[in-house]
Amino acid sequence: MKLAGLKSVENAHEESVWAVTWIPATETRGALLLTGSLDETVKLWRSDELVLQGTNTGHCLGVVSVAAHPSGVIAASASLDSSIRVFDVDTNATIATLEAIPSEVWKMQFDPKGTILAVAGGGSASIKLWDTATWQLIDTLSVPRPESSKPSDKSGSGKFVLSVAWSPDGKRLACGSMDGTISVFDVARAKFLHHLDGHYMPVRSLVYSPIDPRVLYSASDDAHVHMYDAEGKSLIGAMSGHSSWVLSMDVSPDGGALATGSSDRTVRLWDLGMRAAVQTMSNHTDQVWGVAFRPPGGAGVRAGRLASVSDDKSISLYDYS
């Protein structure tokens, strides 16, 4: 279990790169890397050489998140002005522009089947669900406010929803908020199930284990990564090692490793079996806002890849083996 640097693109964007995801391979092409930046552009890169495939404009303010449909045909990018642009990956044609003012847009993810796009709705304290066929808002999953709100809660930041994650079976949706609580929803019944406690600082990244739909990982500004049994409502483990906020996180497709990116400028690889950090990459010179493992599939591509993006405007690609 290790990472080996393959390629870095300095000044991949004109400004900080804030979002990254892989667009799965289609029959006609391999997987592509999708990045979004403060410079208001979204760029497509061909792996492994990280050749720039296309630059999408059209966003105002910075691009805060990107998401790819499991089919690899369409993708979505969202910016600080709270709008989402859904576009055709290969033609860059705009398919839809989604807005649910005053709900902002933070992290977003397509469900495993590709029928719903879940969007973390910021101050609206909810997850917005968009139908990917009609691009209509189909539901809003609201995070209930705790009955006795803590005195330390600053108004407005209470249940500000930042991050969202689908379970691999598509039945559950989890979201993380500014105050550190994680909420779990039953999607089919559109019902809030319970909170997961343990963090007291913003949870900026959530991801389910691809091999166990009960296991949820969370990354928080408290520099910790927690490991929850999201069904059993219990904390299985906590991993510390970053010296500052953990901004981003992704699980390897085999479910055995976790990659985290932090404002301490490092990317760490964690062995989930040992629950310990096995490697620290320090090639970035500023906050690492995104890490993403390449999904398996495509024309005979077996090798594991991890991409990371950073405030230093660069993209890095690693071999994961």
């Binding site: 005053p102 550190g180 997961l196 520099a223 904390l235």
Partner: protein, 1087 residues
């Protein structure tokens, strides 16, 4: 049977006196002696006989009678014998004086002796035996010079006078001139070979002193041959045997001592040595018996000193320090000069140290050092005492000397290291490392304290890996590593309970249930704690927390572990748990200033101002105001109170500031090097507008703070930046903020980003300002104020662009885009305000939306105008282009024509040439010479080619020329364009001025609205928490002049103020200061 005969007076008869049958009553004999007028030498013989038999009374009676005035008269011509009698008496009293222990009687005896000798001298002042006697007397009195003079007188008369030689030898011996003494003894033996063994004893002693041990031994053995019962020789030989320091020698020595003891049980020397022996064999009862006897029989100071020393040592080893001290003291008194016998000083020093009498102990050890200046043990002890007395400098000096003298003494290095910890960490580390190396070399195990100290020092130097290795070595194997590397440690906890995971002890109970013993020996607790601190420092808070909990599981009184757990919880923003843990710590000791201080900081974080103040007060009282942290916290409290009170009055503010300043100054007086206090004081100064002084202080603090890994003072960087900002040095301020963000916050602190944005704003770097704010939003998404500020920045950017005298259509277009964004931002904010309270007035936002929309409309006009203009320009350009094209076409045609002309001309020329050639050829053929025709053909071909080339070249040249021309045209066009643009611009500017007027109207409205909302007032006094109120006013004045978007500017101010709650100074300072006490705690632990 020895007899004396003497003549009966006036007859031939003789009296026979059997010497062993002397009558008990000496008067009987006296009567006979007197009656028979026996010669005086008979008197002497009889007296001597009495003396030998121990009948001192009779001896004295006879001699006194023999020296009475009657006898003097009667025997007035028998000078020698009279002298002999007097001398005998003198010698006797000399001896009495010598052995007498009481000073007074001693004097009396000596006086008597002196009188007898003087009397003898009066009879014949040249009598050598008198002089010898006098010499002996002086010797006994210790008057070596005069004794020597007396003996010299004798020897001057008769250089072979044996008693005088022996006397002189004794003098020399006592003077320490052993070789001279030896020579004299040898002479005595030469002169009188059959003299008693005592002479050889002298030789033995001299040789011994001279270090000629073998010869000394021979001498003593000869004495024993002559007199097998000579105790002194036995003792001397025994001593020499003992000094061989070999088991065999010691045994032999002890045998000899025992023999001596059996022969004569009152020899103090033998007694002392025996006592010494029994001390080492542990038979303390015998030691006491022997030494008491020795003390009783000896009057010799040094000897007694030895005896007391033995006694003291015996008590010392039994742990009876009081008695031991008394006897050591007695021993010291007896010897009185440390050079003679230094051991009791050492012992006394030890006992006094044990009893806590540092000064006394110190003086005794110093005496030892006078004798043995290089005695490492004493040096170490002296160093230790200096440490106890707080005289660090002296202690250092002494210990350094000790390590220099014996570079293999690990203990000395350890002591030196411990001493250096507080002053010179590097030196301390070196010392400890040396000690560790020495211990390793000698195969000893390094004590855990040593390893702990090495670990801590490495830790403090930031060498975490070395520190970790050392701590691990110190801890050895144990349950801690099992727990840390065990998955069970991160046990499954219900997520609701997970918030309390830092006080969870179930883990250890479960381990015990599983039969794994959870042991933690007390001497490892400190190291374990330090190891946990190290883990914490390397950001492995989880493992650290397990170790802290392990410590608490076994030692629930270990307060520091609670505090660290609380600190971890606090770092993770779990305030309630943190407060709970502090509560546990306070249960251990409710007066602990560290715990109280931390509690205060937590309460402040929890917005519990009144409680926090109370807690800080309690902390201050708990330390009698000596703990600067509590005072500082109170100072900060007052400072914040001055700036933040909602209903602020100038008076209240001034009082709080004054109070803050007072507290900071107080701390500074106590601890002149307290960075935080200096920082605080400078903040107050800056608050009062004394920027230059404040800047100086900040700069100094910044320099001082960048030395240690434990001192993290981002505040001072921020403050310095604030000062630059307030003084209008924006570039410097930006740099300072950026450095601070990068150095201390991993660029994550939105508050500092906000300061940075504001500086950009003031410097009119709108895009930088906007980008900075966007970054801040990205970091703190729920902070709507930042969005508001971003909107304001965009609005301001737009207005300033529109105000510009010159701008392109692109600029105007981007302005429009920016305005659209601003409108979006404000609209979203106003919509969001329905959902939650984010602190601003809806009306205010509405005003902004209005304003921006208004501006947008205006901009659209601009934009249209600009676009129209651009259109016109484009058209004009098009026309110009067409003109150019036409021109070009014309020129091309012309050129073409020229070219063709040329070509034709060339062709003509070629034709001519060819014709000529042909003609020439024809002529040649006619000539029919030897040159082959083919060759010539070639050449002509080549010439053809050449011609083609040159043509090509020419053509190319033409092209180039053409292109240059084209470029020129384009430039001309551009010039035209600009001229026209400028001409048109006049209109736009006019338009714009109208716009601004309109905008001003809008401004007034806004201000009214603000005033209505009661916000304006606070705005005027509020500034961001940078100390720049006066500057602000100055700048504000400037803005009034420009009379442009005053509201936006103010909004940025007010906006930031609403988000002002976590003041950077507060936050940083508490965090940092909390580390400081912990570090202190660590250091205490090391001891």
């Amino acid at each position: 049977m020895a007899c004396v005969y003497f003549h009966v007076q006036h007859s031939e008869e003789e009296v026979r006196v059997a010497l062993d049958q002397l009558p008990l009553d000496a008067n009987d004999i006296l009567d006979i002696l007197k009656a028979e007028q026996a010669s005086l030498d008979i008197w002497l013989v009889i007296a001597r006989e009495y003396f030998k038999q121990g009948k001192i009374q009779q001896f004295l009676l006879i001699l006194k009678e023999g020296s009475s005035s009657d006898i003097d008269e009667y025997y007035s011509d028998v000078r020698y014998d009279r002298i002999a009698i007097l001398n005998a008496l003198g010698a006797y009293y000399s001896y009495l004086g010598k052995i007498e222990t009481k000073q007074r009687e001693k004097e009396d005896h000596f006086i008597l002796a002196t009188q007898y000798y003087n009397k003898a001298s009066r009879i014949d002042m040249h009598e050598p035996s008198t002089w010898v006697g006098k010499g002996q007397l002086l010797l006994a009195k210790g008057d070596l010079e005069q004794a020597s003079a007396a003996f010299k007188i004798v020897l001057d008369g008769d250089r072979d006078n044996v008693p005088a030689i022996l006397g002189q030898a004794c003098v020399q011996f006592n003077r320490g001139r052993y070789s001279e003494s030896l020579e004299l003894y040898k002479r005595a033996l030469q002169v009188h070979p059959s003299c008693p063994g005592a002479v050889r004893l002298g030789i033995g002693h001299c040789r011994f002193k001279l270090g000629q041990l073998e010869k000394a031994r021979q001498a003593f053995q000869r004495v024993l041959q002559l007199d097998p019962e000579n105790v002194e020789a036995l003792v001397a030989l025994g001593m020499m045997d003992l000094q061989t320091n070999e088991a065999d020698g010691i045994r032999k020595g002890m045998e000899k001592m025992q023999m001596a003891f059996e022969i004569y049980p009152y020899c103090a020397m033998a007694l002392n040595h025996l006592a010494n022996h029994f001390f080492f064999t542990g038979q303390h009862f015998l030691v006491e018996q022997l030494t008491e006897t020795a003390l009783a029989v000896s009057d010799h100071g040094l000897m007694k000193s030895h005896s007391y020393y033995n006694l003291a040592r015996s008590y010392h080893s039994k742990g009876d320090y009081e008695k031991a001290g008394l006897y050591y003291m007695a021993s010291v008194k007896e010897s009185s000069r440390p050079h003679d016998f230094v051991l009791p000083y050492y012992g006394l020093g030890q006992v006094q140290l044990k009893l806590g009498d540092f000064k006394g102990s110190l003086s005794n050890f110093e005496k030892v050092l006078e004798v043995y200046p290089e005695n490492c043990e004493s040096l170490k002890v002296v160093g230790h005492i200096y440490v106890q007395l707080g005289q660090t400098e002296k202690a250092l000096e002494v210990l350094r000397k000790a390590t220099r003298i014996d570079p293999r003494d690990s203990q000395a290095f350890i002591e030196l290291g411990e001493l250096l910890i507080s002053s010179d960490a590097g030196g301390a580390l070196d010392a400890f490392k040396t000690a560790r190396g020495l211990l390793k070399k000698s195969g000893e195990e390094a004590p855990i304290e040593l390893l702990n100290n090495i670990g801590v020092l490495n830790f403090e130097r930031g060498e975490f890996e070395l520190a970790e290795q050392t701590f691990k070595a110190a801890l050895g194997d144990g349950v801690w590593f099992l727990i840390m590397n065990d998955k069970r440690s991160s046990s499954v906890v219900d997520s609701e309970e997970s918030s309390r995971r830092y006080c969870d002890m179930k883990l250890f109970q479960r381990l015990e249930d599983e039969g794994i013993s959870v042991d933690l020996h007390w001497d490892k607790v400190t190291t374990l704690f330090n190891y946990a601190r190290l883990l914490e420092q390397s950001h492995d808070a989880e493992k650290a927390s397990i170790l802290y909990r392990l410590i608490l599981f076994k030692y629930p009184e270990y307060q520091d572990a609670y505090l660290r757990l609380a600190a971890i919880a606090k770092d993770r923003n779990n305030i309630l748990l943190s407060i709970e843990l502090i509560g546990d710590a306070l249960k251990v000791n409710d007066k602990s200033p560290d715990a109280l201080s931390m509690l205060g900081a937590l309460e402040l974080k929890n917005d519990d101002w009144v409680k926090a103040k109370e807690t800080f007060r309690a902390a201050k009282e708990a330390t009698d105001g000596k703990d600067s942290y509590a005072s500082l916290s109170l100072g900060n409290w007052n400072y914040f109170a001055a700036l933040r009170s909602e209903k602020r009055g100038a008076k209240l503010e001034a009082t709080h500031l004054e109070k803050a300043k007072e507290l900071y100054t107080k701390v500074l007086v106590q601890h002149p090097s307290n960075l935080y206090a200096a920082n605080g004081a400078a903040v107050v100064l800056a608050e009062k507008g004394q920027f230059d002084v404040a800047k100086d202080i900040f700069t100094q603090v910044q320099e001082a703070a960048s030395g240690s890994i434990f001192v993290q003072m981002p505040d001072v960087w921020i403050n310095l930046a604030h000062v630059y900002f307030a003084q209008g040095q924006f570039a410097l301020a930006v740099k300072m903020y950026q450095n601070c963000l990068r150095k201390f916050y991993y660029n994550t602190d939105t508050q500092v980003l906000l300061y940075l944005a504001r500086t950009h704003y003031e410097a009119e770097q709108w895009q930088d300002c906007k980008k900075t704010l966007l970054r801040a939003i990205h970091l703190a998404p729920s902070n709507y104020t930042l969005r508001f500020d971003a909107g304001v920045a965009m609005q301001k950017f737009s207005t300033s662009t529109l105000q510009k005298a010159k701008r392109t259509a692109d600029e105007v277009r981007s302005t429009v885009a920016e305005l659209t964004n601003a409108v979006r931002v404000f609209t979203q904010l106003s919509k969001a305000s329905n959902h939650h309270i984010h602190g601003f007035d809806e009306k205010k936002i509405a005003t902004h939306v209005q304003y921006c929309q208004h501006l947008l409309e205006a901009a659209k006009v601009h934009c249209e105008a600009a676009e129209r203009e651009e259109q016109q320009n484009r058209q004009r350009l098009e026309v110009a282009r067409q003109v150019t094209l036409a021109e070009e076409a014309r020129r091309k045609a012309e050129e073409q024509r020229k070219y063709q002309l040329e070509r034709r001309k060339q062709e003509d020329e070629i034709k001519q040439v060819r014709q000529q050639e042909e003609h020439f050829e024809r002529v040649k053929e006619q000539w029919k010479n030897s040159t082959p025709a083919s060759k010539r053909k070639d050449r002509s071909h080549g010439e053809d080619e050449e011609g083609g080339h040159s043509e090509n070249r020419r053509r190319k040249g033409g092209k180039r020329r053409k292109r240059e021309k084209k470029v020129q045209y384009e430039i001309d066009d551009a010039d035209n364009y600009e001229e026209e643009f400028e001409a048109d611009d006049a209109n736009t500017i006019n338009n714009h001025e109208e716009d601004t007027n309109q905008m001003n109207d809008g401004d007034e409205n806004t201000q009214d609205v603000l005033a209505a909302a009661g916000l304006e007032d606070s705005d005027l006094e509020d500034d961001m928490d940078e100390p720049s109120s006066t500057i602000n006013q100055r700048r504000r004045g400037h803005w009034y002049e420009s009379d442009e978007d005053e509201p936006s500017d103010k909004k940025l101010n007010s906006g930031t103020n609403t988000e002002n709650v976590p003041e950077p100074e507060s936050d940083g300072e508490f965090r940092d200061e909390m580390e400081a006490p912990d570090k202190d705690a660590d250091e205490e632990d090391e001891d």
